[in-house]
Symmetry: C2
Subunit: 415 residues, 2 copies
């Protein structure tokens, strides 16, 4: 019950496009206990695609191919699959109807190149792509299924997540692996390892703990590989409970949870609202918050106060505070958080002010110095952090730290 | 002169982490004309790493391995490389000094696990990692170089970009490929293909055009493969000039340019300032703008007016306009852009208001309806768009369209 992924596209091999499709497919398969034992990236030539098909391992039961489907000349997967699996191109009326509908929703007309996309090899089963014009395809040979989806992630996510995996679950059997991930904020990989050390050393061979750091977050993935999926699951769930008790409120969520989602839920459950006053994070906090559907229920908005004038005019920060303490200071952070809370009438105000870099640092306040303030029903608090000297990383780490500070304050209030 | 990439990590195989390192390395090599002919992802076990090393093609000259270096127990690349290439672990004083310095900058003390990172196989040359504790390593065997870097992208980008590639360029020879990419906004893949059709059909075999669509943008990559790098370059540059003349102002940049960078440069060159008033884009415009170092020179900040109250109180939108036309309307978009321009004193005001979804749509204003307004020295303009029904995609497409609308208005003004 193993799977292989073949990503097609020069743009991946030359590093211009990041292969998010493979990750998405692997995650989906993994969640169902199906092991991806290899990923490959090949060029978008007939020869390379054919060679990759020839090299599929005899024991592989599922091959996922992404990329190389679409209206322009550089798309040749469909042609190669037709030659490989045989048959002829047939016009699929249902797919063309869908293409016409799709264009109607964009208030445009399909052209001949789009009509061509309704031709599908007779050796395949077409999979309707509700998010685009290029249909997915399923082929079968020697007890192995081959799925082909377009390179556009938004379309492949739909085809794999909504169509192919449910079809597999319905018609095929289940795997044995089980994973669960805890997501932590505020401590580095090695500090977490110290906390878990004794427990980790006593783990059985069926359990494996992995540390997955990214800027501002460390995910801890516990994987179980027992005789059955339910046995693996039981082992993992038991381990996760122990890890949670050891890590306390360093853990903010599980698996695909994001901090912005957890913060949003915590606010919504308590019927509380939030507004932001961002300087060094430049709108990234509000971007993450508003990426969650339904966030308008608790997020009122905020001010990106990049210049001092905006801090003073819109957030009513006292010019004297900036003069005496500097814009990157406890006093200004607190005034920003309280200012945005007041001018929007929100329950919570969240503020950041810092030196994102690469310029603007001083010996006293080096690049990476960030003040984060939370103003709420229980009063106002600010804290200073040092996040190093990389701009993008500073913005991300400040944002995650700010959201986590807010999470802890909100969760102190009874639901 | 070919390269292979081996990414190590269960987290990539199960799709939890996206393999950005491979993309980064491939892009860097490609820019120097070195072809990456294969990428592989393998599990983080000694067996899988060893097998991948055994399977390196005899003609491969450079092998880039990322992942599996770091202070915690799941990191085993260094141990496997030691066994594979022989020698013994030796303590590297310079690396330990660097580790101590690094901890000092975080105002913390290194622990024993961090000191362990200063041990390096005697068969390798250590590569100092200025962004972290895990050093890079270079091994050599049978005229092939093997580089090992940590899985953390921020560290691998530094080691490969600042250390390994410059070393290769200095000590090795150059490749033959040449690529250039034009980046366009505002038209789909097939419409661009129509414009370029006749020219593209007459292309010689040494040139290849690829369409690389992503939400809101289409990149057009022209690749040349002639006898020498300078020949390839001449062919590509000539082709790019023709494409530019055919596509006109649909093209906003080249290669790694981003729209936010081009907009920022256009403003800075003219000594003009900008403020934003974002509703449906929720701060994403200001996040992209402030991700550019030095953006505080032209970006004053803005208001994320998610609620109507903020539109009225901070941006001085007329409540009657919202009542009569709705928050998603030409009138409100213009009042937001003019309001933020007025309250911040900026030269340009850029506003978005729309239905990002999945809720909030109506038959008259379905999910995906977005008004974008630009207010500037030449007056105010708004336009309505329909971006379909996917929330994240709507936010991204609205943001890119808004930045591109602004770009065109700014570029009308003489430098």
């Amino acid at each position: 019950m193993q799977a292989e992924i073949i990503a097609i596209g020069d743009e991946i091999l030359i590093g211009q496009t990041i292969d998010t499709n493979s990750s998405f497919i692997a995650a989906q398969l993994n969640a169902e206990g199906i092991l991806v034992w290899q990923k490959k990236v090949v060029a978008d030539t007939e020869e390379a695609i054919r060679r990759a098909l020839d090299e599929v391992h005899p024991d592989t039961r599922y091959v996922f191919m992404t990329g190389g489907l679409g209206p322009t000349k550089d798309d040749i997967t469909k042609k190669t699959l037709l030659e490989y699996f045989g048959g002829e191109m047939v016009f699929d009326e249902a797919i063309y109807e869908h293409i016409k509908e799709l264009f109607k929703s964009f208030q445009r007309e399909p052209k001949e190149v789009h009509r061509q996309q309704a031709y599908i090899p007779s050796s395949s089963t077409a999979i309707l792509n509700e998010r685009g014009t290029a249909a997915g395809m399923r082929f079968e040979r020697n007890n192995c299924f081959y799925f082909s989806t377009p390179g556009v992630p938004y379309e492949t996510e739909h085809l794999v997540g909504d169509k192919i995996i449910p079809w597999m679950m319905e018609t095929q059997m289940e795997g044995k692996l089980y994973h669960k991930t805890l997501i932590t904020q505020g401590r580095g990989e090695s500090e977490l390892a110290e906390i878990l050390k004794d427990w980790e050393e006593g783990l059985s061979e069926s359990l494996k703990l992995a540390y997955l750091p990214s800027p501002g977050l460390v995910r801890l993935r516990l994987s179980g590989a027992a005789q059955t999926k339910s046995e693996s699951k039981a082992l993992v769930e038991e381990g996760i409970a122990i890890m949670r008790s050891k890590l306390g409120d360093l853990v903010f969520g599980e698996d695909a949870n994001s901090l912005e989602e957890i913060v949003g839920k915590s606010l919504a459950q308590r019927n509380l609202s939030l507004a932001t006053a961002e300087s060094c994070t430049g709108g990234y906090i509000s971007h993450l918050l508003t990426s969650i559907a339904g966030s308008s229920k608790y997020f009122l908005g905020g001010v990106v106060a990049y210049s001092n004038a905006l801090k003073i005019n819109l957030l009513k920060v006292n010019p004297k505070s900036i003069e005496e303490h500097g814009a990157v200071s406890e006093k200004v952070a607190i005034e920003m958080a309280e200012g945005v809370r007041q001018c929007t009438g929100s329950d919570f105000g969240l503020a950041t002010t810092g030196v994102a870099g690469p310029e603007g640092g001083s010996p006293e306040k080096p690049v990476g110095t960030v003040w984060i303030a939370v103003a709420g029903p229980q009063g106002s608090k600010a804290k200073c952090y040092h996040f190093g000297n990389h701009r993008q990383r500073n913005i991300r780490r400040s944002t995650l730290m700010a959201l986590d500070r807010l999470r802890k304050e909100v969760q102190k209030i009874d639901c």
